[in-house]
């Protein structure tokens, strides 16, 4: 990240200036597009140079598609693809007479694609304004202008006492402040061996320790709510149904690290996350649980919610910090790590929402109790998983580590509905490996899945049924990957485009050449986007070589 731009932003931030991205988003909300005059205004208000603002305005999905009075966004995520292929997209294009990214001449309606709305349990999904409709009839209603908000299934827990699928009660924070103190709390988190739940699995305690010891005038905790993985709606549920739990986790992190300010980065594709979190913050402040002198401890901690603007890579922690500060969401080389230099150049901890939601229980009951939540596994804590619409009982479920994928698919989610059969399952997100039906007895755990070329990732379990063509899956994943590439590093920027082009037509794909391309992506990419894309493709090459059409 440009140190100079971060410094300019920091200087303006001291006078309560908005970020350039915030100003541009407001412009789109207000008049449906971004003009040069908006850019100039964003530069003036935020302190970011005009050219940099221009760059921001060309990066994020929300700023690029022109909006009519009625703005229809159709989801092209993997769960919606698994449900209907591209049929729902074709239907809405035909029905509205617009291409994706187009606005009608009279400005009354516009169509854009969006990935993903988090309604994977009821695919296909379509958003009109801020209401998300999904399931049977949703597309027709969108075309007719009669969309309504779709219901969301209740979440549940397999544990005897829910740890994650419960509203927060602040008992962890109370105990930490009354009995532990920051150093002891940090030690508990380290002892608890909490692994990041966003996909990287990095030990949270280690990250917190670095940040605590780093030199800096101010420190920050950032909750990564940018759950862009198509098929995943876990963080959505946490932010919208248990915001207090998330806030408690943030406050605990701040207390342990010595940070007085937290941010939550939410997705604009989840329009309810920000308002629900902000309402919870207001309640918490009123109760003395956030703000100055939390619980009379002398420790200040407050939280700001920032909404993104449509970019998958912003889920990567350095890209996230760039977006938070109003810059282009591109990835930065590490070191320096955010724990050393993050928001405004200061030490920053970035933790996934679910990771933070694990902390209140650990603070309240201790590291041993936390480690024992999954008796059938070495891994500490529990995990939220979610299922896509193909399943009979799709929702978010809290499970212990160590169950097999088959158990999760058949017992927990009830198998596929309408008697359909599982052909393959993609676990953890679009960069996760794909397990064929024959390998479902693999245990759902970090090492076991890694051995199969898969990952726990974010925890989504997305089934493709036997009607799905795996070459279509390859093409779908590569299109997503190429579209979402931030464009900074060469292997991903060019390599994913080339990989997509290989599968875009119907020509056979030269296996050796393709494998060499995958190697360049895996070993050369700057981050796990380009670096991770080979995993599901290798699964497909291994398990479905004929269907892929190789040479």
């Amino acid at each position: 990240m440009s140190q100079n731009l971060v410094e300019l932003i920091r200087r303006h931030h001291q006078v309560q200036a908005p970020t350039a991205l915030e100003v541009l988003k407001d412009a789109v909300e207000d008049h449906g597009e971004v003009t040069d005059s908006d850019r100039e205004r964003a530069a003036e208000l935020s302190g970011l140079p005009e050219a940099a603002v221009y760059g921001v305005s060309t990066f994020y999905d929300d700023l690029l598609a022109p909006r009519g009075a009625r703005h229809v966004r159709v989801c092209t995520g993997t769960a919606c693809f698994a449900a209907s292929g591209d049929a729902h997209v074709d239907a809405v294009r035909a029905g509205l007479g617009l291409e994706l990214g187009e606005r009608s001449e009279d400005g009354s309606v516009s169509l854009a694609e969006t990935v993903c709305l988090g309604f994977c349990h009821s695919s296909p999904a379509v958003r009109v304004g801020d209401a998300v409709d999904a399931g049977s009839g949703a597309i027709e209603r969108a075309i007719a202008g009669e969309s309504r908000a779709a219901p969301e299934p209740e979440w549940r827990s397999l544990l005897s006492e829910p740890v994650l699928t419960r509203p927060g009660d602040w008992s962890g924070l109370r105990r930490a402040m009354a009995e532990l103190g920051p150093e002891a709390l940090l030690a508990e988190v380290e002892a608890g061996e909490v692994r990041g739940r966003g996909g990287a699995g990095f030990p949270a305690g280690t990250k917190w320790r670095f940040a605590r010891e780093a030199a800096g005038a101010e420190k920050f905790i950032v909750a990564n709510g940018d759950e862009g993985d198509p098929g995943s709606y876990i963080d959505k549920y946490l932010m919208e149904r248990a915001p207090e739990l998330v806030l408690e986790g943030l406050a605990l992190a701040g207390y342990a690290v010595g940070a007085n300010h937290g941010f939550v980065l939410t997705r604009s594709e989840y329009p309810r996350s920000k308002p629900l979190l902000e309402a919870a913050i207001a309640r918490a402040r009123a109760a003395g649980l956030l703000g100055e002198d939390v619980l009379g401890s002398g420790f200040d901690f407050d939280v700001t919610v920032v909404e993104g603007a449509g970019s998958y890579v912003v889920g990567e922690e350095t890209a996230l910090l760039a977006c938070l500060q109003g810059l282009r969401g591109t990835v930065s080389a590490r070191p320096p790590f955010p724990a050393e230099r993050g928001v405004h150049g200061q030490p920053t901890v970035v933790n996934n929402i679910e990771t933070l939601a694990n902390i209140p229980f650990l603070a309240a009951r201790g590291a041993a109790a936390y480690r024992d939540l999954s008796p059938g596994s070495e891994t500490a804590g529990s995990k939220l998983v979610c299922f896509n619409e193909r399943f009979a009982r799709p929702t978010v479920v809290e499970v212990p580590f160590g169950m097999t994928v088959r158990e999760l698919c058949e017992q927990v989610a009830g198998g596929l509905r309408d008697g359909a059969a599982i052909k393959a399952v993609q676990i953890g997100g679009p960069l996760g490996g794909i397990l064929p039906a024959s390998r479902l007895d693999t245990r759902f755990d970090f090492d076991a899945l890694a051995a199969e070329g898969c990952m726990v990732g974010h925890g989504s379990i997305l089934a493709f049924d036997t009607a799905t063509n795996m070459r279509d899956v390859a093409r779908h994943l590569l299109r997503f990957g190429a579209d979402e590439s931030c464009g900074k590093c060469f292997p991903c920027r060019i390599g994913l485009r080339r990989a997509h082009e290989e599968f875009a037509g119907s020509e056979p794909v030269d296996r050796e050449r393709f494998e060499a391309l995958l190697e360049a992506l895996e070993l050369g990419s700057l981050c796990a986007h380009g670096g991770g894309m080979p995993a599901p493709l290798r699964s497909l090459l291994t398990h479905f070589p004929e269907e892929l059409g190789l040479r």
């Binding site: 050219a51 221009y54 579209d483 050369g524 700057l526």
Partner: protein
Amino acid sequence: MSTVTVDGVEVEVAPGATVLEAARAAGRWVPTVCFDERQAPFGACRVCLVGIEGSPKPLPACTTPCREGMTIATEDATARRVAGAVVELVLSELPEAPAPHTELAQVAARLGVEETRWPGTVHQTDEDFRHPYLALRHELCISCGRCVRACDEVQGAFALTATGRGFEANITAGLDAGFEDSTCVSCGACADTCPTDAITEIRLLPQSTEEGWK
């Protein structure tokens, strides 16, 4: 000071030195495309990959800090294979081969990369010759970021930016209305650092005449 070994040669490096600095101190060549010694390392091109003992994958030399006792292999087979593949990818997005004098062409030649295994869409021609001195040919831009960083970290005019996303990424000046209409001070640092002549001096273009200034 720490001591590291580069291709069997021990070399002392200052605290905070990168593997690339160590390699150069040892007189060893590591190919780079997005690196410029006048700017902070960026880590975009991934061509400077080297082998490091103990690391399962090759690491980028320009952004990896040295540690005491590190053993570095600049010609590690995997590293070079991937670096070569990356250069092939970059060549594949350009509408024509880079001019022989450009840094990109020289790195490709030295790595022995001539053709690409992955041809595909190339950049569309988009030339901007509005400025009296600076020519900007967007189709030759490989988004290495050096020009943006020169304008940021050296001149401090902040006139350039990366634009777009993914394969459509490129660069532009100001609000995409040309150098003159931006905060550009015409210092030429961008042209000086560009490894493909996407930004170059207009008088050096083949189509410029020798007439001299009117």
